[in-house]
């Protein structure tokens, strides 16, 4: 391997980690500001201009707290869980193409890679609940796991549908196929799948549920009454879970952009670039924040009902429909 290759890898590693870190920190700021604006108030304004140093102040506060490992808890798993939650987000972003040339490592099975590593997140949350040796943490972690498992299935069915449409798992090629004006994007490919917007919405809902956001944050919000899965974590341990949640949101929105919205392609067919990717991704992140601050929470059994009784049948139907349409088109 030449020095250039080595340097390039180093730059990408640092770049991806910096991107994840900055996003995690400043998405907190963006969420608080957006929440404020939705509620007709300014949000943080005191620390720094327009509150831009607020995440730094929060970070310093979290860093200065003592990291307590509860007595009787499995110390190694307890300490490992936050790392295991943060790691998949960073790894997934290594294969996401930010632009034609900006991609960490363009592997042929990029699609599978991202969703495979996304599932490690679920295991890490279960570990954190289990290692805490706290009754309520275990119950809450078990709930998160059952919620995540239930919503993996429609998400993967949707991805399979897209796989049929695109014919390749290479994320770079998927975006290349969507070149041109915006009607070339996968979202508007109604010729192969008349229910493509429905597919996108199913993917979006599954992404919200996977990242425990928005109307599906039962397990976290239950911490109002009972302790959540992360109760025994103090200081930066908790901070890492928080950051990982936002990092997962970023990964989910990046995948949605790449798969449905044309990645780094511009809607006018000219001047593609990383700016378009970031614009689309942050528009989706804004929608995630918007959904959170608008709706109340669902009940837990309704959440699971929604997945098993509604989303899976619909996504199966979409899959079969797409398969039929493609057969008709090919023939």
């Amino acid at each position: 391997m030449s020095l250039f290759e080595l340097l390039r890898m180093l730059v990408y590693v640092v770049g991806v980690m910096a991107f994840v870190g900055l996003n995690a920190a400043y998405l907190v700021w963006a969420e608080r500001k957006a929440a404020g604006r939705f509620q007709r108030r300014p949000g943080p304004t005191e620390v720094g201009y327009a509150g831009l140093l607020q995440p730094i102040a929060d970070g310093i506060k979290l860093l200065s707290k003592q990291l307590i490992v509860p007595d009787g808890a499995d110390a190694m798993l307890f300490r490992a869980a936050p790392l295991l939650v943060m790691m998949p987000a960073m790894m997934c972003l290594a294969v996401v193409p930010f632009s034609e040339t900006l991609v960490g490592r363009n592997i042929n099975v990029g699609l599978v890679f991202v969703f495979a590593f996304g599932t490690i997140n679920v295991m890490a949350v279960m570990l954190s609940g289990w290692a805490s040796r706290n009754k309520y943490a275990i119950i809450s972690a078990a709930r998160i796991v059952s919620q995540d498992v239930a919503y993996e299935i429609p998400m993967l069915l949707v991805v399979i549908t897209l796989l049929m449409v695109t014919g390749t798992m290479n994320l770079h090629d998927i975006v290349e196929q969507q070149a041109g004006w915006f009607w070339h994007w996968n979202l508007f490919r109604l010729d192969v799948n008349p229910l493509m917007p429905v597919t996108f919405i199913i993917y979006f809902i599954c992404m919200l549920a996977e990242t425990n956001r928005a109307p599906f944050d039962m397990a976290e919000a239950e911490s109002e009454l009972v302790a959540g899965a992360f109760t025994e974590y103090a200081g930066m341990g908790f901070g890492v879970f928080f950051m990982a949640e936002y990092a997962n949101v970023v990964v989910g929105c990046s995948m949605a952009t790449v798969l449905f919205l044309g990645g780094w392609q511009s809607p006018f067919g000219v001047w593609p670039g990383v700016v378009w990717f970031l614009l689309k991704m942050y528009a989706l992140v804004f929608t995630v924040i918007w959904v959170r601050w608008t709706f109340p929470r669902t009940q837990f059994y309704r959440l699971l009902n929604l997945s098993w009784k509604f989303l899976i049948p619909v996504s199966l139907f979409v899959l079969i429909l797409t398969a039929a349409m493609m057969k008709v088109l090919r023939a």
């Binding site: 509620q39 608008t294 929470r297 837990f300």
Partner: protein, 375 residues
Amino acid sequence: MSASGVMSSQQPQETFVLNVGPQHPATHGVLRLKMTMDGEYVTRAEPVCGYIHRMHEKMGENRTWAQFLPNTGRIDYLAAMAYNHAYVAAVERAAKIAVPPRAEYIRVITTELNRISSHLVWFGAFLLDLGGFTPLLYAFDDREKILDMLEAVTGSRLTYCYYRFGGVYNDIDDVFIQRARAFVADMRPRLKMYKTLVTDNFILRKRLIGIGHINEEMCRKYGATGPVIRGAGVAYDVRKIEPYSVYREFDFDIPTFPEGDCMARYLVRMEEMEQSLRIVEQALGKLPDGPVQSSGVPRVLRPPAGDYCFAVEAARGRLLVRIVSDNKEIPYRVRLRTPCFANLSLFEEASAGMMLPDALAVLGSLDLVIPDIDR
């Protein structure tokens, strides 16, 4: 659970006690709920109150009739005008003091505005319990307008001490009337917005419809009044059944919904806000001129000996104030029958067998203010 002996012998129920403790993240107040849980389900929810017992009724025995008036505003601080009204009217009934008509109209206007502001707080806090954070702030924005109006007249924003024996303390001026009219005009579109944003919201409907059935029989058993019984199909409102003040002169409906679930109680309160707006509008139109305080009320009041009571429709139900006088300047006994105590007592029966989030939704729909329970 003990229906089939075989099942109970094979699977012993392991229950644990969950303390939904006096410190609540929601704005109910200091109420402790000892919930015996079987996994997800609540088998028994025992409310333990008394954490904010401030002995108002005892203070009634140690203060003169006029000195007790600030206490009434602090019992249910969100809907304080009705409590002022009940106490003042009870003493007026005892001492046979007549109230000038302008004062009666002002009392009705301020009480109804206070009712709207109390329901707005309930609306925001209820949705906060359910996880929707934004409507709280929209409700508080509307409430600010009412609070500013009432502050300009009475001087206080929350714990009013505005009514006096024989009228009200200050007169209202044209600025207030103008602001009140503007408020009524602004509030109606806002109520429509709440309907679109919250009431018609799919998630909320799934959360509230069919949850927490409280039927008429349960209400009668525990003496629950207010939106709780009106959400169970009974059109019981003190303003229509035992009309007081000048409520006979106004044309308003009593919203009643027969289902008895959380959604029915929710809808009752939303409709009540609209009806209160109607009353305020009519009262502003019919406001007579004249004094706002009746002359000839002695400085030191000594009502004739006897037992008197007065009932009003507070925001949360029927409030009854009973005073026993022995012709001295200090009452012999002041008894407050507050609505939230009765409303809370049916929580234990209503929440048996529910899941925890549903039980908390029922608690929110009962609209409790804990100082009202403990006094």
